[in-house]
């Protein structure tokens, strides 16, 4: 069957899609977007995390046909391309990685990337946590948000560093306080 889907803002279609095929397979094997990784195909590892209509999902558990007419954003869609080394500076003085999303840059700076297999999924999931947070999330919140993303290399500490850094920078950019106002300072 044919599947039409908007990926990273671009309308794409894939032909000869098997009815039981996953969105992950279509992205990687038919649309040339290998950013989302295939590791477990059973929702356990999170390395295939993408946005589907604005919420993060395991692309391996979405049937390709279920994405018909919907909007997908993969890790490729978070950056606008360009160089990868933050030291590189273009002629205009902009970092040559200017295309990288701030979350990606923080992963690089914090040393949160080793083999890198888990990174695209973690970047997308962390991106969604930070986009929805007011202030820097508490460690417990970060751990909970990333509970479905496995990493076999880093031991997670540097990943937590990267997310804290990215959240702090997002607050600075949005001019919001680092610590959100106390909620439920209650009436009971």
């Amino acid at each position: 069957m044919r599947v039409n889907v908007s990926v990273n803002g671009e309308r794409m279609s894939a032909d000869d899609v098997w009815e039981g095929e996953s969105l992950l397979y279509v992205l990687r094997e038919r649309l040339g977007l290998p950013g989302a990784k295939n590791a477990c195909e059973q929702g356990e590892c999170g390395s295939c995390t993408v946005y589907l209509d604005g919420v993060t999902v395991c692309a391996c558990l979405v049937a390709a046909g279920q994405a018909e007419g919907r909007e997908v954003i993969t890790v490729e869609g978070l950056s606008s391309g360009g160089g990868t080394r933050s030291e590189d500076v273009s002629a205009e003085g902009e970092p040559a990685d200017g295309g990288l999303d701030e979350v990606q840059r923080c992963f690089v700076e914090a040393g949160a990337v080793q083999c890198g297999f888990c990174t695209p999924g973690l970047v997308v999931q962390a991106h969604s946590l930070i986009a929805g947070a007011s202030g820097v999330p508490a460690d417990a919140e970060i751990r909970e948000a990333l509970a479905g993303n496995l990493c076999r290399c880093t031991g997670y500490e540097k990943i937590l560093d990267a997310v804290r850094l990215a959240a702090a920078r997002a607050c600075a950019a949005r001019d919001t306080p680092l610590v959100p106002p106390q909620q439920g300072a209650s009436d009971d």
Partner: protein, 300 residues
């Protein structure tokens, strides 16, 4: 394999009637795992995502109001939008998988799969939910305790789909408790839910992952109805709580499997039941603060 895409609920029912061998797919968090791991090839997939009304919830019922939670309402939305009225189900939902799984998975899918370990079942049993099953022949409301027929078997006919689950808003404190190896991403070793209904002087219970189907602990419920000092607001008698735990454990018929041994499950159920009753009773005696908020508008 065929991929069926109904645009409306009526079309979905017509397609299911024409193709009783089609497997409905909502969040896909059970269905796709089976396909990816080649544990079975459905003859057809019936995608319910395009049926927009399934993603809505509303109030229903004359007299006693119920929340009608559409089959497409995800765990994430249930927690965010309905947690105040359905605290037990929301607590259980929070323990399902990971954020990515909760963004897709649904209570209806949990009911469709009917795994004895599904986390939605104990709170649905404890609060006395109804499953709204529909086909081209009509609609029926199945009491939740009659819905589970066996391991991964439920009361749906071949041509039926789950339209919604009807759940009464909490009439008192509710708690869910689950044993697993990690505080995320675990299938329950066993689980327990309690829902107090002080005005009726009754409590509902639900046991998960400790019998071929999720089930209520009837004798334990009767015991609380008769023995709890519903009017006094004093502390819980420890002997009463212990006896309640024993009765819950006796209601289970667990097996040894990779996740745990039968003896451990029975023991853990007794402990969970005793503690959950303690938490609920503490809230109850603390007064109306533990009550669900007033009813307000529908979703969407």
């Amino acid at each position: 394999m065929d991929f069926l895409r109904p645009g409306t609920w009526e079309e979905a029912l017509a397609m299911k009637a024409a193709r009783p061998d089609a497997t409905p797919i909502q969040g896909g968090t059970d269905v796709m795992v089976e396909i990816n791991l080649d544990k079975g090839r459905p003859a057809a997939l019936l995608d319910l995502n395009p049926v927009a009304e399934l993603a809505e919830w509303s109030w229903t019922g004359d007299g006693a109001p119920m929340l009608r939670v559409g089959a497409g309402v995800t765990y994430a939305r249930l927690i965010a939008e309905l947690g105040g009225w359905l605290p037990g189900l929301a607590q259980a939902s929070r323990t399902v998988g990971s954020p990515q799984i909760r963004n897709r998975g649904t209570v209806a899918g949990n009911l469709g799969a009917a795994s004895p370990a599904g986390d939605g079942h104990p709170p649905l049993l404890a609060s006395g939910a109804l499953v709204e099953a529909a086909s081209v022949r009509g609609t029926r409301l199945i009491p939740i305790a009659e819905f589970y027929l066996g391991v991964k078997r439920n009361a749906l006919e071949d041509d039926e789909l789950i339209r919604a689950v009807h759940v009464p808003p909490a009439a008192g404190p509710q708690y869910f408790s689950k044993i697993g190896t990690r505080n995320a991403m675990v299938i329950a070793v066993c689980s327990f839910a309690i829902a107090l209904r002080p005005e009726e002087r009754r409590a509902g219970t639900g046991i998960g992952s400790a019998a071929p189907t999720p089930r209520r602990a009837y004798a334990a419920e009767e015991f609380l109805a008769g023995e709890l000092d519903w009017d006094g607001r004093g502390p819980l008698d420890p002997a009463l709580a212990r006896r309640f735990g024993e009765l819950v454990a006796e209601a289970a018929s667990p097996i040894d499997d990779v996740r745990g041994r039968a003896a451990y499950r029975r023991h853990a159920l007794g402990v969970m039941a005793r503690r959950a009753l303690g938490w609920a009773w503490t809230d109850h005696t603390a007064g109306p603060a533990g009550r669900a908020p007033e009813r307000s508008g529908d979703s969407g």
